[in-house]
């Protein structure tokens, strides 16, 4: 076999594998959307679920998912930024830094069900936070924080060395250099990475079964006092998220239209994650233009 034939076979194989992946992905996406989209309506997105009657919605679950994501980001963004800046700019290479990096990577690849059980034993029971949004947010932090640290560290490492040196050479402190010169350049990457990581948090179910719980109390959406138990904003109430709801309704749903609701909810979940992805790209590019003042 001569080199040309070998090259052709290799090219054909690679194209074949690539198209197979695209096909599988498109099929999967198409199937979920095809089954679910017809069920999505404004009423479906806003009304409360029904236990035994048909016609229930996913309103509280959708709200819970978004609110839980927000709580998780409130916890992980400051911690992740701080740790990422430390790892990139302050930590001297050595055994300590290497072991921190190892821990961070191990943490991010932890099986989520194990994190859920850990959350049940420690956060829910030992610390007594109960099944609550707060417990769920802490469990999700376990996955999200390592990603945030890595995103921040790598985006700061990606800032051209000369930019940093130019600032230091003007007699600016290291902190000022980081905040005024490096972070503006790194921010688009950090934001994009954060939104992409948020997609994973949004779809997480296993870690939340035992931490945020599988039920929502009756929520009063006109009550915005975060301390009231019926307020949607109360972080210490149990909260069933969209992904958990799909799992529950599929395994033990009693409503006659349970299958349609699961399909509709799955479509909503997938569409939301897709929206995250697209908005991440768009927003990243927008910030890049803003911060670098390029047209």
């Amino acid at each position: 076999m001569n080199a040309k034939t070998a090259d052709r076979i290799a090219t054909a194989t690679i194209i074949g594998v690539a198209s197979l992946i695209v096909l599988i992905l498109a099929g999967l996406l198409g199937f979920i959307l095809f089954r679910g989209v017809s069920h999505i309506s404004f009423d479906f997105l806003t009304s409360v679920p029904q236990t035994i009657k048909a016609g229930g919605g996913i309103g509280p679950q959708l709200f819970n998912s978004l609110f839980l994501l927000l709580l998780t980001l409130i916890i992980t963004i400051p911690l992740g930024l701080g740790a990422g800046i430390y790892m990139s700019e302050y930590a001297k290479p050595g055994r300590l830094t290497d072991s921190i990096r190892l821990v961070v990577e191990v943490l991010s690849s932890f099986p989520s069900i194990v994190v859920g059980l850990f959350g049940l034993l420690v956060i829910v029971n030992l610390f007594g936070f109960g099944f609550s949004l707060f417990s769920g947010a802490l469990a999700l932090t376990v996955f999200n924080l390592p990603l945030m640290v890595r995103i921040t560290e790598q985006s700061l490492k990606g800032v051209p060395r000369e930019q940093k040196e130019a600032s230091l050479a003007l007699g600016l402190s290291r902190w000022k250099t980081i905040t005024s010169v490096m972070l503006p350049i790194a921010t688009p990457t950090i934001v994009t990475g954060t939104i992409l990581a948020a997609g994973r948090v949004f779809g997480e179910a296993a870690a939340l079964l035992f931490t945020a719980g599988m039920s929502s109390p009756r929520l009063d959406f006109s009550n915005w006092n975060p301390l009231s138990p019926t307020s949607p904003l109360n972080p210490f109430r149990p909260a069933e998220t969209l992904a958990v709801h799909i799992w529950k309704i599929n395994s033990e749903g009693l409503a006659p239209d349970a299958a349609e609701i699961a399909a509709g909810a799955s479509a909503v979940l997938v569409i939301t994650v897709l929206l995250f992805n697209f908005s991440a790209r768009w927003f990243g590019r927008y910030l890049h233009r803003r911060f670098t003042a390029t047209k």
Partner: protein
């Protein structure tokens, strides 16, 4: 040790175990341009970067010896590097303006060092851009991105930025090697202008440039200074054979 200007005494720089600068002593007089020449890897850039302790930011680099400026050994661990770097400006091989507007590139340093008044800042920006012969080209678009400027303009902006914090010395690491001939000529002209106020240390690979712009020239080879003298002498009648071989193009 009372002397104006900057002087290095027995400076040694190590990358891990490897000694890159092997005991260099050089004096840089105020209002003079000193060129550092030598083959690639001879340590001239490393030496330049140790003068404002920029090598501190690289892990595994150790510097011994003394660098005197204003009666102070700035290589002392107790010295405030941040303050020191304000007095010693730097310009890099590739133009590296901040990803900010032209105005901000200049105003950024002075504002950090305490100039808050808008009028004063405006004056500094104009003054620095004029000194860098960039004012006429940029006065109508001060608030546009510095990245939209041409390479040569960016490099002059970087020089303007470095003088905005009123340094005494400006270190230049091959400031024109990434530029076209016209921009190079402008930068060289600028260097001759600036030496009326600052002492300038310039690393260059371009022998003609060294001959054109500098008052004194130091020839580096293998981490040591082989010869340091008035530029004319180095280029017409060097004392060392190695210098002669290098400037006449027999190696390097």
């Amino acid at each position: 040790m009372h002397q104006e200007g900057l002087s290095a005494k027995n400076l040694r720089v190590f990358y891990g175990e490897k000694e890159a600068i092997k005991g260099v002593s050089l004096d840089f007089a105020p209002r003079e341009v000193t060129a550092l020449i030598g083959p690639s890897g001879c340590g001239k850039s490393t030496f330049l970067r140790s003068l404002n302790r920029m090598n501190d930011t690289i892990d595994g680099v150790r510097t011994t010896g003394e660098i005197w400026m204003d009666g102070e050994n700035i290589n002392d661990p107790g010295v405030d590097v941040v303050l020191l770097r304000q007095k010693i400006g730097m310009v890099w091989q590739r133009p590296n303006p901040f990803h900010k507007s032209i105005y901000e590139n200049i105003a950024f340093g002075p504002r950090y060092h305490g100039v808050r008044n808008k009028k004063e800042l405006d004056a500094i920006v104009e003054d620095c851009l004029r000194k860098a012969a960039l004012w006429d080209e940029t006065k109508d678009r001060l608030h546009q991105s510095a990245l939209a400027l041409s390479g040569g303009q960016q490099q002059r902006l970087c020089i303007a930025r470095s003088i905005a914090v009123k340094p005494k010395v400006i270190l230049m690491d091959e400031p024109a090697s990434a530029l076209d001939p016209v921009s190079t000529a402008k930068v060289e002209e600028l260097i001759s202008e600036l030496k009326q106020e600052y002492s300038i240390v310039i690393v260059t690979h371009n022998m003609h440039q060294a001959a054109r712009v500098s008052d004194k020239t130091a020839f580096f080879y293998m981490g040591k200074v082989v010869e340091y003298d008035v530029t004319d002498k180095i280029f017409t009648n060097p004392s060392e054979k190695a210098t002669d071989d290098y400037i006449s193009g027999r190696f390097g």
